[in-house]
Amino acid sequence: MSDTSLPQASAPPATRRTIGSAGDTLFEWLCRGAGLFVLLLLGAIILTLFIGGLPAFREFGLQFLWSSDWNPVEGRESYGALVPMLGTIVTSILAIMLGVPVAFGIAFFLTELAPQWVRRPVGTAIELLAAVPSIIFGMWGLFVLVPFVQNYIQLPFGETLGALPIVGVIFDSNNFAGTSIFAAAMVLAIMILPFIAATMRDVFNQVPPVYKESAYGLGATRWEVMKGVVLPYTRISVVGGIMLGLGRALGETMAVTFVIGNANRMASSIFDPSTTIASVVAMEFPESLMGSLKQSSLLALGFLLFFISFVVLAVSRWLLRSRLK
């Protein structure tokens, strides 16, 4: 079994083969076992969340999905997933709407427009943004972004757009704390920006140069090459990158908890406080009683979050499959 067996050709080949193959079988099964462990891990996560949420699913049935109740008072306990679920989806979609144009701009800049010496440092800086821990985004969001959003976005937009008929109610809010759905969406947008930008940059770089060169040869400008050649060639992967960002936004916890206001009630305006699945779990789970209906409801919420983000991430990975090869 020692290293010296390599150069010694004189050792009996039969013995060597059995020792070698025993080691081979062992090592292969060690690796395969670790692989199976990962599969088992995902299965176990789904199963524990489902089993933990089972009492809540039994108690409330399908009503759990569209009830906006959140009443922990003993004897009148009633929990529903509607508010946190809507909060999760609305903040994530708003974050995508805010973040994708900027991410596209960064990716376009880094692949086509910027001079070579700019690309590396700027690309690295954007990637470092992804490394900043989410709690830091939360603190920065609470102490820097929330006052900014309140003074320069909520008030002017609320006054001008709030007067519009029908859609006005979305912008009209008398929330004075500043923590709101919009603030959460903005923090999320900044957090997913580097992930989407990095994916887009990588797929843009994969376009065969010949295609781009032929378009340039016809006299196309850089924007025309992007619109007519690069984007059509990469659109599936681009959507995959956006879905990856969406999957991250759905499950983000600490940053959102800091800035969304954690109010478990229906919000009519994007400048009202609300909550998301991840932040309601982070806020209420540690203080809930072991085995209580509340704890089970929170686990049921966790199961729903897992289901939603699993679907989004699976679609993202399927769309990005050509890039992964």
Binding site: L6, G23, V38, L49, A131, A215, V225, K227, R248, E252
Partner: protein
């Protein structure tokens, strides 16, 4: 959206005035998009700069040697003579739990990555493992906290440092899997053939040649995973919960830097918020430093 847009200008009847106007418009749009992209990049960099500057401006004034050597103390607001607390308990807790997370998660991740790159490049089981690992990489970390709560905290009857370490280990695995597999796939097959041609068994080829050839890449992955879990808050909230005193007992609730930041930032007392900023500064620069070292390691290899 189709390629015809590109060729439209040149194939119609030539009208010099119209061609010039069209040309101007195309140039204008191109210039506009270019400026918008530069602004977008500036916006991205602005946010990074804003976060780092805020951390430095608010953190540096409250950071001192006391921050590293003293435990948590309740608020001393309004009493300038009182001694302020520090984050020693949280720094120790983070070191212990991060060490457990990295120590347990790395070997598993390394073996899985090896399995994917060396044994199961195109098998059905390999594809399933790869898919699941990629999903775990981006899955909400708070759900890992809920999972470990059900599996470890409930049976043990309370929050514990070992539960925190377990949650972090689960987060380490997919990061190490991804980098290990990527790095092993970069190794040319001729190298493998040369080793096997000498008569070495496959496990020796993998451990003595492939792992060694991919070493800097694998270490990069481990560093990135460590950086990621150092700043993790959500899963620890449900597993090790946080503690106001220094504790090395893995069976009890254990403090950690992110949790201490979270609790003190939301305490409402200005002096505790200052300590939270100091903690935020320590965590962020620690995490960014690990990231930069990891990048340099990988850049030095190429």
């Amino acid at each position: 959206m189709s390629a015809t847009i590109v060729s439209t200008p040149s194939f119609h009847k030539r009208d010099p005035a119209m061609a010039a106007a069209l040309n101007r418009r195309r140039r204008f749009v191109d210039g506009l998009v270019r400026w918008l992209c530069i602004i977008a990049t500036a916006v991205g960099l602005f946010f990074l700069a804003s976060i780092l500057l805020t951390l430095i401006l608010r953190g540096i004034s409250s950071i001192s040697i006391i921050t590293f050597t003293t435990e948590f103390r309740p608020t001393t607001y309004g009493d300038p003579t009182a001694e302020t607390g520090g984050l020693y308990h949280a720094i120790m807790g983070t070191l212990v739990q991060t060490a457990i997370g990295t120590g347990v998660g790395t070997p598993i991740g390394l073996l899985v990555g090896t399995y994917l790159a060396e044994y199961a490049r195109n098998s059905a089981l390999g594809n399933a493992v790869r898919f699941v690992s990629d999903v775990l990489l981006s899955a909400p970390s708070i759900l890992v906290g809920l999972f470990v709560y059900q599996l470890v905290v409930l049976p043990m009857g309370g929050f514990s440092g070992i539960a925190g370490g377990a949650a972090l280990a689960i987060l380490v695995i997919p990061v190490v899997v991804r980098t290990t597999e990527d790095m092993l796939q970069l190794i040319p097959n001729t190298l493998r053939e040369a080793v096997v041609g000498l008569g070495a068994p496959k496990w020796k080829m993998v451990t003595l040649v492939c792992w060694r050839a991919a070493l800097s890449g694998i270490v990069t992955g481990i560093l990135l995973a460590t950086a990621r879990i150092t700043g993790e808050t959500a899963p620890l909230l449900l597993t090790s919960f946080g503690n106001n005193v220094t504790s090395f007992n893995l069976g009890n609730a254990m403090a950690s830097l992110p949790i201490a930041i979270y609790q003190q930032a939301n305490s409402g007392f200005p002096d505790l918020i200052d300590i939270a900023w100091a903690g935020a500064l320590i965590v962020t620069f620690g995490v960014l430093a690990i990231n930069i070292v990891a990048r340099l390691l990988l850049a030095g290899r190429k």
